[in-house]
């Protein structure tokens, strides 16, 4: 710690948010180690952390209740105990993207798959165009689909890469669980509808789709297929809860950082936007709120919901 400024409160300009997947089936969050990673490059977080950009109106609330235990006559507080542990966090995203929308929606977010012509209308998208199988040599950023199929895609188009739905129940979606299936469905594209394994086509050449950024699930498997995505949709009334590991970073002007790490955050509100005035227009910002769930700190076995760390600048 800089001994000269160690007593000064951090003066921060804004806060940046990073999210990482939680393995829902195993209830295994992504743990951030501030001792090893506290001074990471804010523009290049280590995988699997995903940079979701700057946020505003960052508000933390503790719902932890501390009770006083009294004894004697007259009664006097003898000791204290914590009877409930609870914490919530809310904020607004400054940018508007797939993951920001998914997190702010509070529930599963549907990919609007390119629909076949003339199919029945559906609120979350009609029957999709048949997905394209991946060929060998595909990576997290290059999808080999063959020259014929590649002609069906265009630069700038969004695509989703995931497996066919074959009647499985439970959490579905590669890389990140996008939904929970309670009973078997019939839509072969259902996993691709809810998957967060989405990218944008940056270039098309020799039957390969090059993506702007790596897929969240990494290298695709041979069972995965590609579908074109025309947009996104979330639904009020949907029952799924998003759960992610989160990290919020505030960098002070002396290079110091305050980091708030919530290993497990579950959405606690439904979709909502706030309007911010900008040049006579209304700029819709997505607001999000989460409730923190506990993890056990292996250091001493304590059940905690949030780690707040402070690391001095180099």
């Amino acid at each position: 710690m800089n001994v000269t400024t160690g007593t000064m409160p951090p003066a921060v300009r804004r806060i940046r948010a990073y999210f990482a997947p939680v393995n829902r089936s195993a209830q295994q969050p992504t743990i951030f180690d501030p001792a090893q990673q506290g001074l990471f490059d804010l523009s290049a977080p280590a995988a699997p952390w995903i940079d979701l950009g700057w946020i505003s109106a960052f508000t933390r609330k503790s719902g932890t209740k501390i009770d006083a235990l009294r004894a004697g006559a007259p009664t006097t507080v003898q000791m204290q105990s914590r009877s409930e542990i609870e914490a919530t966090v809310s904020f607004q995203f400054s940018s508007w993207g797939k993951l920001q929308m998914a997190l702010a929606s509070g529930t599963q977010q549907m990919n609007l798959l390119a629909a076949q012509q003339g199919v029945a209308a559906a609120g979350s998208g009609g029957t999709a165009v048949a997905a394209v199988a991946l060929e060998s040599g595909s990576t997290a950023t290059v999808l080999q689909v063959g020259t014929t199929a590649a002609a069906g895609f265009s630069v700038g188009e969004l695509v989703v890469v995931d497996v066919d739905y074959t009647g499985q129940t439970g959490f579905v979606g590669s890389g990140v669980s996008g939904a929970y299936v309670k009973s078997a469905l019939t839509d072969v594209d259902y996993v691709r509808r809810v998957s967060l394994n989405v990218g944008r086509v940056n270039a098309i050449q020799d039957g390969a789709l090059t993506l702007e950024s790596a897929l969240i699930a990494g290298m695709p498997t041979a069972a995965m297929k590609v579908s074109g995505v025309v947009g996104f949709c979330d639904r009020e009334g949907s029952t799924f809860f998003q759960e992610w590991s989160a990290l919020f970073v505030a960098e002070g002007q002396q290079g110091e950082r305050t980091l708030w790490h919530y290993p497990r955050l579950q959405a606690m509100t439904s979709v909502g936007e706030v309007a911010a005035a900008a040049g006579g227009l209304e700029s819709l910002r997505q607001s999000a709120a989460f409730r923190a769930l506990p993890v056990k700190d292996p250091v001493d076995g304590e059940n905690v919901v949030c780690f707040r760390s402070f690391v001095a600048g180099s």
Binding site: T4, T7, P9, Q253, G255
Partner: protein, 168 residues
């Protein structure tokens, strides 16, 4: 305070030079990046066009903290008549280019640098890195003004630092 002023000037000058190496001026026979501090120059240079002129005006010290927090307001004045080859009809574009260069330089992350002491330069020494940083806010642009054949603008930036013990 002087160290904070000097450090911010050096940082801004470096960023402007990196963003547009062709933004240069000839001052007292020297070709240098097109950024100067008015109070450090002869009064005859203060209306030099096509360069950024820093003028320090308001200053405050918040002594309520463990270290005094110094806040300095820096006015950045610039003006241009465009180019003679275009008969000055590109003066608006030239001003917009300076707006963009200034915004890029001031608003780029990180908006802080280690404070330097330049006191030893007067006696042939070198700069000394201090223990704290100088940091600044985003640039705020004033309205463009017409000054004869030139268009001019004044932008402002708040520059802050902690006053270290014994610092001038």
């Amino acid at each position: 305070m002087q160290n904070a002023k000097d450090t911010f000037y050096e940082a801004l000058r470096s960023r402007i030079a990196a963003g547009n190496p062709e933004r240069t001026i000839v001052l007292r026979g020297q070709v240098r990046p097109g950024v100067l501090v008015e109070e450090n120059e002869l009064v005859t240079t203060v209306t030099m066009p096509d360069c950024l002129r820093l003028r320090w005006d308001e200053a405050s010290v918040d002594a309520a903290n463990a270290m005094p927090l110094v806040a300095l307001r820096c006015e950045i004045l610039y003006e241009t008549a465009g180019t003679a080859g275009n008969g000055g009809m590109d003066r608006g574009r030239a001003l917009a280019a300076m707006d963009a260069e200034l915004a890029a330089a001031v608003n780029a992350c990180p908006q802080f640098v280690v404070k330097q002491s330049y006191a030893a330069l007067a006696s042939g020494g070198s700069t000394v890195a201090m223990n704290t940083n100088v940091w600044w806010g985003d640039v705020a642009f004033g309205t463009a003004q017409v000054k004869a054949d030139r268009v001019a603008r004044t932008a402002t930036v708040m520059v802050m630092s902690y006053q270290e013990a014994g610092e001038l």
